[in-house]
């Protein structure tokens, strides 16, 4: 029973991080029609920056202040996104979509090496944050309080993004642009600005995902590519461009992964891909996707 609670918490933790990642990916696709292959690398960048800042500051400041530094990674990634969209992506919107895939794939390769140059091979972690919060007891077991914070951030992010997209002026404009870019601009919307903002928001979520995961794990090279494929699985199951889809997809992937690990570990990856392929075959646009 306690184990069940722990595994559910583990799954929710993983789902929170995956949701942030996949929702950003989905948002960017929904608005701009671009699959951002570099999304996982931006997540890794967020993890590295936060770990680096916190390691640097850990000796100097009080742990409570360290929590204020947690979003550092997300902010740096957002700044990167705001530069990437106009410089690299904007010139390509009129070209066939494989070129957009290629350019973001190129960005992935560059970012992987940049992180290699800057931070080298030694894993970076931000454990002072983890230690500051201690543990809670779950029956005879314990669970790190920080992970509960991550789950809370995930829930908050899901609600926040939902409210943002469905309840604010910017959200309406975002949806309008994603549905009919031409008409949006003919009504006086600065589509270019909406694109930058959407891409920045997507990057922010990726960076935040990396930032919140790093205190409990570590920033290591290759983490971006590994997680990118999982994020694909999530958005494919949920439906590209759909936020509800990203949420449901993240939950499905996390719970299935945990279940497979608990009961039949050899199939960990194959099962996830199989689910994705099965969903695509039955509903080519995913569970919540817009029809093509």
């Amino acid at each position: 029973m306690d184990i069940l609670v722990l595994q559910i918490l583990n799954s929710l933790f993983y789902a929170s991080v995956l949701f942030l990642l996949a929702a950003g990916l989905s948002l960017i696709f929904g608005v701009m029609g671009i699959i951002n292959m570099a999304h996982g690398s931006l997540y890794a960048l967020g993890a590295y920056v936060t770990a680096w800042v916190i390691t640097f500051a850990a000796t100097a400041v009080h742990p409570a202040v360290l929590f204020l530094l947690l979003p550092a990674g997300a902010l740096v990634v957002t700044a990167a996104g705001v530069v990437i969209e106009p410089v690299l992506l904007r010139p390509l919107y009129k070209r066939p979509e494989e070129y957009q895939l290629l350019i973001t794939f190129g960005l992935l390769l560059v970012l992987e090496d940049v992180m290699r140059f800057v931070w080298g091979g030694t894993p970076l972690s931000a454990s002072p944050l983890m230690d500051a919060l201690g543990i809670v007891h779950v029956g005879e077991f314990v669970y790190p309080t920080y992970n509960l914070l991550v789950i809370a951030i995930g829930v908050f992010a899901a609600l926040g993004v939902w409210a943002f997209v469905y309840r604010t002026r910017f959200g309406v404009m975002l949806r309008a642009t994603s549905q009919d870019r031409r008409m949006a601009s003919a009504l006086g919307m600065n589509v270019g600005r909406v694109y930058v903002q959407a891409f920045g928001l997507g990057c922010f979520m990726a960076g935040l995902g990396g930032a919140i995961v790093v205190p409990s794990q570590a920033a290591v090279l290759g983490m971006g590519v590994e997680v990118l494929v999982l994020a694909f699985v999530v958005v494919v199951i949920g439906g590209l461009g759909s936020l509800e889809g990203a949420l449901v997809g993240a939950l499905i992937v996390s719970f299935v992964r945990t279940g497979v690990i608990q009961f039949y570990e050899e199939l960990e990856l194959a099962v996830l891909y199989l689910i994705a392929a099965a969903v695509l075959l039955v509903r080519p646009t995913g569970l919540f996707g817009r029809p093509q």
């Binding site: 290699r116 091979g121 030694t122 077991f141 669970y143 570590a218 090279l221 290759g222 690990i261 990856l269």
Partner: protein, 466 residues
């Protein structure tokens, strides 16, 4: 407590020649039958004409990625040896060592291509390095075919000489073999926690993890009897989230957990396990906790964990007062790189030094620069006083052997990272835990096990009374 059982286990361990505590060193050694090359010996005068062209060595190791924790120290050990040799004018006073590096993280396929390039295009004289046990079986046959003298300093799978290259000519390996990891951890566990019966295991899901799991459980069953494997977790290599695996292990409530994770994976694992209280709930035996750079594991690491070092070297052991070779190595290494050496540093350093010794010896016999055949003849059966102690290369399988060692973690004030508790160190003569020369290889002579060592243990070790 059944007195009979206790005695049996103790007798068994004594029979294996296991000693405990820092004083145990020195009495071990497997009885050299070959040529003993002591680095302390005064340099011999080279015979004949020696060309002054540099010796080109190729060194593939992990320069990036999570395994850089192992590869970095290895490369630094290699470079230190090269610098020391070059400072004396090079091998035989003439030929300096040049190193061509490549990143093992590029993957097996790229590594094989790179080895071909190094030999065919760069014309290397010696190939060294390689950490992944998935890579040596792929590189071994290629090296034999290219006829390039190869001294792996890790990539220690038994399969290399059991199956992939059963009759090696050009390929050597200086570190210990993999099966010894699982067996060493089992001996250490049997020594420190004789009553553990319910065993759980978390291993990286590839051949190293499979090997550790198999040899650990096999040996522990013989040493203590009546064990039961209650949980197995097989995370993919380079996993970052271990929490579902940790929870699964907790749910099985084992007495003892054996961990074969290494490098960045082990660091991520112990940090997460710590927060789940795993170390309070079970004893933990690892094969590679001290395998990376010593400072990779922080002082938050729990004490009393059996911390393996894989190829049997920890920089504090053998202690400097008993084994000056090590003291000198640690001092120069620390001075050069501002960190303490790992087993990879020792392995890469010793590899180059043994090559040098073999060349010098061959030169004394043949004059001039010896050809590969002559160097190989010298390496086969060579014994060498390395920082880690006495290393012996068995002629039948080109494998380097040294005595195994492990110990329990403890935080000592003089280091910012955990080290071994001096009173807990377990030394095991290597002959006691590996198959003797010419033992049938898997698939031959009635050996249906995965390694020669497993077959040998099954057939010759007595079973402790359960």
């Amino acid at each position: 407590m059944d007195e009979q059982k206790q005695v049996t286990r103790r007798d068994f361990l004594r029979q294996l020649g296991v000693t405990v505590g820092a004083a145990g060193l020195g009495a071990t050694g497997i009885g050299a039958t070959g040529y003993l090359a002591a680095p302390a010996r005064a340099a011999m005068k080279p015979k004949g004409n020696i060309p002054s062209t540099p010796i080109k060595t190729g060194h593939i190791t992990f320069l990036t990625g999570p395994a850089e924790l192992l590869g970095g120290p290895g490369l630094r050990g290699h470079l230190l040896a090269a610098e020391e040799i070059n400072a004396q004018g090079g091998i035989l006073g003439k030929r300096k060592i040049e190193t061509i590096q490549a990143d093992e993280a590029a993957g097996t396929d790229a590594n094989v291509k790179e080895l071909r390039r190094m030999k065919l295009s760069e014309k290397i004289d010696l190939f060294t390095g390689v950490i992944s046990s998935g890579n040596t079986p792929a590189l071994g046959p290629v090296a034999e075919e290219l006829k390039v003298l190869t001294m792996f300093n890790d990539g220690c799978t038994d399969f290399l000489f059991d199956k992939a290259v059963p009759n090696p000519k050009y390929v050597f390996r200086v570190t210990n073999i993999q099966s010894a990891d699982g067996v060493t951890a089992a001996v250490g566990a049997a020594q420190h926690w004789p009553k553990a019966r319910k065993i759980a295991s978390i291993q990286p899901d590839y051949s190293y993890g499979r090997n550790v799991h198999e040899h650990f459980t096999l040996a522990l069953e013989r040493l203590t009897g009546g064990i039961e494997v209650v949980a197995e977790a097989w995370p993919k290599l380079f996993t970052t989230d271990f929490t579902p695996h940790i929870t699964k292990l907790l749910s099985a409530k084992p007495d003892l957990l054996v961990v074969g994770l290494w490098g960045g994976d082990y660091v991520a694992f112990y940090k997460q396990a710590l927060r789940y209280g795993l170390f309070d709930k079970m004893k933990v035996a690892t094969t590679l906790a001290f395998g990376g750079v010593p400072h990779a594991v922080g002082k938050d690491h729990p004490e009393g964990v059996l911390a393996g070092v894989h190829a049997n070297y920890h920089f504090l052991y053998p202690p400097g007062d008993q084994w000056p070779v090590n003291k000198k190595f640690v001092d120069t290494y620390h001075k050069r790189w501002k960190e303490y050496p790992s087993f990879e540093s020792d392995g890469a350093y010793t590899t180059l030094m043994m090559y040098k010794a073999a060349v010098e010896k061959a030169n004394q016999l043949t004059g001039g620069w010896p050809d590969d055949e002559a160097i190989i003849a010298m390496l086969e059966g060579m014994g060498y006083d390395s920082p880690a102690g006495y290393v012996y290369i068995r002629p039948d399988n080109h494998q380097g052997y040294k005595d195994a060692v492990t110990g329990l973690t403890k935080n000592l004030p003089e280091y910012d990272f955990p080290v071994w508790d001096p009173n807990s160190i377990v030394y095991i003569p290597i002959r006691s835990i590996t198959a003797p020369p010419n033992w049938p290889k898997p698939g031959q002579g009635g050996n249906n096990e995965s390694t020669a060592a497993a077959d040998w243990i099954k057939k010759t070790w007595p079973k402790a009374k359960a």
